[in-house]
Symmetry: C2
Subunit: 412 residues, 2 copies
């Protein structure tokens, strides 16, 4: 009786869905607004569109009777989609009022929708054994703060096998992200639960620190109230996060969790800015990681300071600030010892024979050229790596897929 | 240098704040939109306004030059405020695009802002020792599901004193809430961190199960994708949650955490529907809890079935469903053994001399009369309780304050 009752209510709720899926993944988005003159659907619906959401293609929705607007894709690939509506007479995006699943990317909230039947099946909670997610504060001195927050994923086996110890993947977010980014946009817990249930990857602990030097925790959890996350958090690129990582994060995790505290059982990976941090953390600490992953890494300052493409802004802001203090921009970065002598450090790191150095990037990503340059450097130095070149751009759609490709290669 | 750098950036960010506070808590909300003809500020800014957000008072914002709209309160009490903007030509609410702190209440997202300098100081992350928050799945059979999700708060001492055991507060949410509700709108971790740091309450574990029988987890974490939380989740009031609680939740927690598994070290409290569940869980299991808290409890079905005010809807929907099955509504509830013989059960419960039976409700709350009736029942039965009657209505503003009043009374 109760099960039928539940199903009946489910059917009632279903009729109000704002995203409907027909055969061949024909997907229709619906938004009710009888006052609007124009409504556009915003979202990253194509692999070749920019991952910078606010610049994404606007799709004009069609007004139907009863003040309902619709947009139909004849076919969409299975994925997690983040979308919003842009209504005339408002500058900001409108969340889907019929959808309670919302995700924040940097400073903006979007409605989220998983289209199953493919890779999207990894992004939903399946009827498998689930891991545990923790939000933990640890002592830190970065930027004069006393504590920083990190997220931890513990595999289902951590609970069911009370004395077993586990390998650890340290997974870093990008500029503007925080300790929630991989769990939210990255679907980390769902992906790991599903990979482990399918025996495609080893049960492992995943640690997601906050690598944003300006904000110690996600909005609402940081003492810095009203501080807004920004994709140009320049202080995160001054080497402080990388410097603190082996002193603050790893010992804390090894002390408080049942880890296997060995190079062979420790991996590090990061996306975009987190990829940059990954390169330097691993190269400066050659005895720590046997597995390294770069997902659309910001390799910019390996290529001769911060002059390159996307990080021009950093140099610009640093210039302003340094003018204020009468200092010189370039020297600020050059004086970070951690960033120096990268060729020698990479050579020393590879001399310890790491089991995997993994580089993934999309053909349309704005860091593609920088990654080409970085791979050229590795080739010149005769340092071996695995390269995964995909379609698509600087987007969570790619980073989730890189995780699915990367995690099964670890600790085997 | 880095600290100054950080401060400078902070100052830059500050100039873009959409909520500014002047002397005497004069608060101005700002929203930029040069296309709108009319903008209203929505939010629960007064204790006597309804806690049902969508029915809250609309405040007409004033258009300033440069397309900026403002609304100024001459003085607001310190609190956490949830707000949004209503712009002409849109039916739905608009989040504050300059504010990254967002909270979901039932199915709707609002921008959030903490006004410090009073009770609001409990709602922000202070520079004190922080506890850990966990999201955990546990085996459950409610409504034919196999697992349900709960949240756990571990006090700072759980990490720093590795062999110490702790008392447990089980804290239940209201209709439409889930395992995230107390952590998000309820600021549970911040309040507990601050109370414990001030030595105003004992270090304790707080367990927040998902008491929504229709949804096993918060949106994005449930296998039921596109299911929308509802404040009328009727199946949560059929006794199943209360029945499963002592069999599924408590043993799981006692098995996996360093609890003190004794009545003297176990408390239960709940708001609204969670208050209803609290009454019946405690009354049906007199040996389990020495501390019971009811925050704006939905005591309706203690007063002769589900006929009373707010739950008429439940009876209505049940009628429809039962007509479908040819059954009778009232008998469905009456047949729930757990709800029967409440007078006898309460008397048996109080015969075990619980240390605290706490009832809190606001003068303007729609459940005030029902709570009066429930207290009359307790008086008639000569069962002692502590009563905290406050200003205000059925709102998170009150529930946070009740927690601050209740938690220090536990385990002393």
């Amino acid at each position: 009786m109760l099960l039928i009752f539940f199903t009946l209510l489910g059917a009632v709720a279903q009729s109000q869905k704002s995203v409907t899926v027909a055969v061949d993944n024909k997907v229709t988005f619906t938004y009710k607004n009888d006052k609007a003159q124009k409504v556009e659907l915003m979202g990253d619906f194509s692999a070749t569109e920019t991952g910078l959401f606010k610049k994404s293609k606007k799709r004009q929705m069609e007004k139907q009777s009863c003040g309902t607007w619709t947009y139909t894709f004849s076919s969409l690939p299975s994925d997690l989609y983040m979308y919003a509506f842009k209504v005339d007479y408002t500058d900001s995006l409108q969340l889907d009022p019929s959808n309670s699943f919302t995700l924040r990317n940097v400073d903006t909230y979007y409605s989220a929708f998983v289209l199953t039947g493919g890779v999207g099946d990894f992004f939903i909670t399946q009827q498998v054994a689930h891991g545990t997610v923790q939000k933990v504060w640890y002592p830190s001195t970065v930027n004069g703060m006393k504590q920083r927050r990190l997220s931890v994923y513990l595999p289902p086996q951590y609970q069911s096998e009370a004395s077993r110890r586990f390998p650890v993947l340290y997974l870093l977010h990008g500029s503007g992200g925080d300790e929630s980014a991989w769990l939210e946009c990255g679907c980390l817990a769902q992906i790991m639960d599903n990979l482990i249930a399918q025996r495609r990857c080893e049960p492992m602990i995943v640690v997601m620190p906050n690598g944003n030097a300006e904000l110690d925790a996600t909005p609402g959890e940081s003492p810095y109230i009203q501080a807004k996350p920004s994709a140009n958090n320049m202080t995160s690129m001054l080497g402080k996060i990388e410097e603190a990582f082996p002193r603050e994060v790893i010992p804390f995790i090894d002390q408080h969790y049942r880890t296997i505290a060995q190079k062979q059982q420790r991996a590090i990976a990061g996306l975009s800015m987190g990829g940059l941090q990954t390169i330097f953390i691993a190269a400066n600490n050659p005895s720590l990681f046997d597995y390294v992953g770069l997902f659309s890494a910001q390799t910019t300052n390996l290529m001769g300071g911060f002059a390159g493409g996307a990080l021009n802004k950093v140099a610009g802001v640093m210039n302003k600030i340094n003018n204020f203090f009468g200092a010189n921009t370039k020297s600020d970065f050059d004086h970070v010892a951690l960033y120096k002598d990268i060729n020698e450090k990479l050579t020393a790191q590879f001399a310890t024979s790491p089991r995997l150095y993994y580089i993934a990037v999309g053909k349309q990503d704005f860091v593609k050229k920088l990654n080409d340059n970085f791979r050229e450097k590795l080739d010149e130095l005769h340092l071996p790596y695995v390269y995964n070149e995909t379609d698509g751009t600087h987007s969570w759609s790619n980073w989730r897929k890189y995780l699915i490709d990367f995690a099964p290669r670890l600790f085997k």
